[in-house]
Structure formats: C-alpha cells, structure tokens
Symmetry: C2
Subunit: 428 residues, 2 copies
C-alpha cells in the first residue's frame, strides 16, 4: 500500500538537477573527453585510489588502483560525474538514489574499499584540515530534535517491521556472542547483556532515554521484574510501544512518555539509553550529564550505548542530510563530557563495532527481501537510498570508520560494585 507522506526520506529535497539527466535521457554513446577521464582519476585518487573501477556513460572504464576492482561504479551521464566531483560525500548518495549512478558487483565491498582508501589518506594534512573545518556538529534544540527524529523514526512502523527483528523491533546494534545467531536471538542477547551490565534486580526503577519501539523497556519489565519509564519524542514509536505494552499486560510496569530526555523527572535506580546519544549532539552532553545527575539514585547504575568514532569526526554528509539529520557519533573522549564534569565513574566500556556490521547484514538481507513491498510503500528512490545507507553502514563498521560503544557508569563515590565482570557471561 502506497504511503501518503509527501516526502520519502527527505528525497523531496533532492534538487531537480539530480533528476533531470536521468540515464535514459543521456545518449550513452556520448564521447568522454580527456577532461572527463582526468576528473575520474582525480576523484579516485581523492578517495585514496581504492580497488574500484569507474565506468562512464559511453562504456569507458577508468581505475587508478593496481589491484583488481572489487566492484564498478557506473556513471550514467557526464553531469553525474561533475556533481560527484563537487561534493562526493553528499552527491554520491543522491545520484545513486535517483539512478544516475549504479553499482555493479558487491555493493558492501565497494563501500568498504572506499572507506579504507579514505582511511589511508588520514595522514594527509589537507584532509585533516578539511576535517577540522567541517567538523562542526549542529546544535539540537528541543524543537529541532523533534523534527530530526520525526524525519527518520516516523517513516511508519509497518516499514520498520519489514526488516527489524520481530520480537522487539530494535533499531540498534544487536549482540552476537556467536556470530551464527539469528537477528532475533542477537537482539534478545543484547537486551540481556545490557540488563546484566546494569545488574537489574526486581523492583528497580529504570528510566530509559530514547526508547525506540519500547522493546528494551518491555523486556526489562517482563524478564527482570523492574518498572520502566521510557522517554521518546517519536510519536509513532510511542503509540506502538504503548499498544504492545497493553497487549502484553505490562502497562502497569512500563510507562512510555512522549517527551524529550531533557525533561526527565523523578529518581531512578537505573539510567539506560540505547542508541539515543547519536542524536543528542556534543553541545548537549553537559545537559545530558545534568539530567543523569538529577535523576540517578546514590547507588544508581548508568548505561549508554552509542555509535561512536575512534577520533572526532562528522557523520557522512549524505547520511546526515538525508537519513539522520542532526546525528553525530562521538569519540570516547567526546563522550567524557557527559561523565567527567559530574565525576561519574566509568566502570566498563565495550566496543561492539563488528556486532553492528553483523546486525546491519541481517537488516539489509531482510530489506532486500522486502524491497518490492517497500517500493510500493514509498518509491524506487527510497529503496535505493536505504540500500546505500544500510550497505554503507556495514562498510563503516567493518572498516572501523564507526564504532559501537557500550559504557557502564556509576556515581564516583558508589562502592556497591561487582568484583568482576564474570556475571556478564553466565554460560561462559
């Protein structure tokens, strides 16, 4: 069934220029000039000369790598090349989404090759200068956050249901202690891993900042005998979460609040946030620390799970513009702005980077299986854009461009701490 939203994925913002020169309107036989070929080579070199071939609209192939190409990027028209040159980070995604760029071969391998190539450029002084100049995360105001979250998370529960895990609809990194696990198993394993890190015990009052479709809150209430108050500013998600809690008879133990984390009230034994920090923005980390300080009991346990970076750096421009407006994955050092000013004590950090790549593989596989249905819901541009986003995210995690940090913390003076982390691995 076709959704009636006017925009799919914000691609209504794609300029007419992107759509104008659709492949079939450009004569494929148009000759490529020496300048075109030079630009292609410059483009590849700017990406660190990855083992990737560029095929032009007339069939010519350009490559700057010695190694055999892992995949071929097909440029359907000259305009696509020119746009790509101007801002590859941003325009590759838009041009791919509208079909003016295609990929032949292994899409994830292609994106991994590009990420790796660009990683090798890191030592380059110009690249570092550009990183510094452009690494200015935007400020997420209360209203701005609502708009940004609506953009992504209110695409429709029926859409996310097609490719997330069926059990709890978790749109965050799963935990694969065994990589052969199913997505459903790994998402439940994640919830139990987090519960163990938080040393949940019956009667604990839990507050959750950014609860998605509420799966963690219901699982904690059902399996650990705690009560949960969960905050989220996505109205579609909260409506779904409340309905599920009612259906599962958990409405007396789980409360979903349609509000911003900054408005959290009350006192809690546990603060938990899985996959929200990416949307908070570094300028608000002090505020988040204040919220936690306000609401965490003296022996309270805290937990934050977030996409991150090995060093500060902006989100890919296209992802930030089209997929996740306002998103910013922090480095561990940047995350400390939440904890250090309030003397919270970081007890445990675990990096689950490869677990997110594995989660995304499962998501992409289900997404592709349902691509026809999703195209009917939205349009072909949407399907292509999301394919790129999911494949690109796999590549970002496998190449180390993105990390996944789980941080356990407590108040600085709290001595009610376990003597080891053996409880995290009960079957080990």
């Amino acid at each position: 069934m076709k959704r009636t939203r006017p925009l799919s994925l914000g691609l209504g913002n794609v300029s007419q220029a992107d759509l104008e020169a659709a492949p079939d309107r450009t004569p494929r036989a148009a000759r490529a000039s020496g300048l075109d070929r030079s630009l292609c080579r410059a483009l590849l070199r700017a990406a660190g000369s990855p083992p990737v071939a560029l095929r032009l609209w007339n069939g010519e192939v350009v490559s700057t790598a010695d190694a055999a190409p892992v995949a071929t990027v097909v440029l359907r028209d000259r305009g696509a090349l020119y746009r790509l040159i101007r801002n590859p980070d941003l325009h590759f995604g838009d041009l791919y989404s509208v079909g003016r760029i295609d990929v032949e071969g292994d899409f994830v391998a292609l994106l991994e090759a590009i990420y790796r190539g660009m990683g090798h450029l890191h030592g380059n002084a110009l690249v570092r200068l550009r990183e510094r100049l452009t690494n200015r995360p935007r400020v997420n105001t209360l209203a701005g956050s609502r708009e940004n979250i609506h953009h992504h998370y209110d695409l429709g529960n029926e859409f996310y249901r097609l490719w997330l895990d069926t059990a709890a609809m978790q749109y965050t990194c799963a935990y694969y202690p065994d990589p052969a696990m199913s997505l459903e198993q790994a998402q439940v394993a994640k919830l139990d891993h987090v519960a163990r890190k938080l040393r949940l015990k019956p009667g604990d009052r839990v507050v959750e900042a950014g609860c998605g479709w509420g799966g963690l809150a219901r699982h904690f209430a059902r399996s650990y005998g705690v009560t949960v108050r969960a905050y989220n500013i996505s109205s579609e998600q909260v409506a779904f979460a409340r309905e599920r809690a009612r259906d599962e008879g958990l409405a007396d133990r789980v409360e979903y609040v349609l509000d911003d984390y900054r408005n959290i009230e009350g006192s809690y034994d546990v603060f938990v946030s899985v996959g929200m920090l990416e949307h908070v923005g570094p300028t608000n980390y002090g505020t988040l620390g204040d919220v936690i300080d306000r609401c965490l009991a003296p022996h309270g346990r805290g937990f934050i799970h977030s996409i991150g970076r090995n060093r500060p750096g902006k989100m890919n421009a296209w992802i930030e513009k089209r997929i996740f407006p306002g998103a910013y994955p922090p480095s561990l050092g940047e995350m400390m702005a939440i904890f250090e000013p309030r003397r919270f004590s970081v007890l445990d950090v675990e990096n689950l980077r490869l677990h997110y790549a594995q989660t995304l593989r499962h998501w992409l596989e289900r997404f592709e299986r349902n691509a026809g249905t999703i195209e009917d819901m939205f349009d072909p541009f949407f399907v292509r854009a999301w394919r790129l986003y999911l494949a690109g995210s796999i590549a970002a995690f496998t190449t180390g461009s993105l990390q996944l940090f789980q941080v356990v913390f407590a108040r600085g003076a709290d001595n009610e701490l376990p003597w080891s982390r053996a409880h995290l691995h009960p079957q080990a």
Copy 2:
C-alpha cells in the same frame, strides 16, 4: 641493616622548620588562643567539615561536624597548625612524617572522611578555580623521568620485598575476582586477566613499557609461550629482573632493556604497559601513541593499565612531591590523547578501583608487620611517610578520588577481534 642512602624518600628535603618544633620541645600546656581555635575550624571547613576531631597541643578538641569523629588528628604544636593552614595538601604529610601531627583512631577511615569531605566541596566555584589553576602537570623529559623513577623505585629491592607479593614483586593493582584472595593469588590473577585481554598465543612477540621487577614479562613467557622485551629506566629493578629471569631459565625468552619507553624499537604483536602511564605525564601521551603506532603489528593487541581519575585533577601535592615526583593520573578523556590522534580503537575499558584499595590493604598490612625492619633500613620518618602514603592511597581509591583503568585497544582497521569477552572469565 641501615641503608646508606643519604635521603630516605626525599625527606632530606623536609625543611628544618618541620623538624624544629618536635612535639617534646613544645610545652603541651601552652594555651590555645581564640585565633587558634578559629583557624582549626576554618581548616576543617575547608576540608568539607569531615567527621574528624582536631586535638590541640594543650588537649583542647575542635570539630565542625555533627557526626561523631571517626578519628582524631593531634596537633603537637602551634607551628604545625600554622603550617597546615598554609598548605594542608602538602604539609599534612610532612608534619605527620616528622611526628608533629599524629592520628588516633582508624587512619584509613580518617583519610577517607577527609577525601569525602573534599569531594563534597567539588561544586564550590572557588575550589574548581583553584583546581584549574593548579592542574598543570609537569613535563617529564628523558633525564627528568630517570631522576623521578630513581627517587621511588630505586629505594632498594629488599625494601619492596618486605611488603609486595613474593611471587612476582608486582607494585601495581592486583585483580581480586574474589576479595578473599591472598595478595599472591590476586597478583597472579591480574597477570592472567591481562594475558586473556591480550589474547596471548605462543610465539607472540610482546613489548612491555615500564616493567617493574619484570614479573609480568616472566609470567607471560613462562605460562603463555611468548617472548617479551621489557623496558624500564630503574636500574635496580632491571638488575633484579634479569637475575630472576636467569634463575628461572627464561633468559632466552625475556629481555630486559634499561631504557625509556620513548626508545622502544622493533615490531611486536602485543604492546603492554602496567602502571607506567602514571609517570608519563599528559604532555607525552602523543609521543607514547607514536611509539605504539611505530611498534605495533597490523593485528597487534594493545593494553594500558593506569591509575586514573573521574575528571582531570592533579596528584595530591605531598604524594607528588615526596613519593611520586612527576606522577599524574589521567582521566579517561585525557588518556584518549594516546589513542585518538592515531585512530587506535579502544575495545575494552575496565575500572578496577576497589581492587587497588584491596591490594593496598594487603600491602599496608605487610608493611606494618615489617615496620621495625623498615625503620632499621631507613628511619622513623620514612616509616610514617610510607604509612601515610599507603593508607592515603587506600582512602583515595575507596572514596573514588582515584580510579584504576585497564584499556584494551587495537588498530582501527583490525577486524581480528573476539566476538565476546567471555574468554576473560573461563571459570565463570
């Protein structure tokens, strides 16, 4: 047997003024003035009014806390009070060392009360300003480091043998998965915990930065079939370590190098450093990162174990002056200056704060048992100073003033990572 060192613990630097007014030279009956009592109250309030009593030279007792005092600080003369007022962080230690201050009651509980009281002052703007102004760690040059390390670690192996674990003479935090463990058990447990974190396998080439008496290197070579090159700038420690390695038939697999970590050469599968970072100083973290980047193989595993802080802050002035010149325990955020510029990926952080308190309890107990022998080796001032240092360190760890971070890291692009941390807890 009396040691012939001219200084014991640098206390030769204690000014004559500290010694002049030794308790028995001051008439105990000298009246205390209203000013004296006011100064005492001001001193206690500046420490956050801990549940501590001050007893003056004439027997009068002053306290500003409502709670019953956990212990009493005895000021033997008026001059001691005046010196204490001028710079309590620095002079408390010196005055206690020379006996112009005494403590009656539980020494550790007293120091914990003071740490807690000062922790409560943290919100105070003046205190924070003072922290900022005085938090300028000194620069450790190659020659300066050698002098600083000599000051502490070359006090004589026979001294350390009296209170460290007998198995490996480890002067770093042990690991107590069960707090009932003996010091010997917990120190071996630490080495195995670190070995598991590093996923040691036979044939691995290990480099160790700052190896103490070489216990880790020998244990790794003996139990894990690796070869270790271990760097240390303390000549007494290196001589001891070499002798032990020869005695244990490990000389072909363990090499001790009397040199600075900055001069590490070669390529290694494993970089490990336990208890050296405290002596490196933040201005050298970039250099340390460069050393690791230079010597770590592409799939190399890295590990740093260090005393730290929940937020940046200087070492206690007396400890830094008398016990550990040049020492600086970093916050996690500060530690990131080692990793982030080189895109090392932090995989795991574990905070073992309470394990260090437990380790120190064992050390202090053995130290007290051998206090007579140690006084014969040095002098009574030395024994008092070290009692204060060990007890104060227990209090710093139990109150959260100090942390103990173990950080596992790898190169950013390395995907040869375990799928869980279950291997760290084989008996769990």
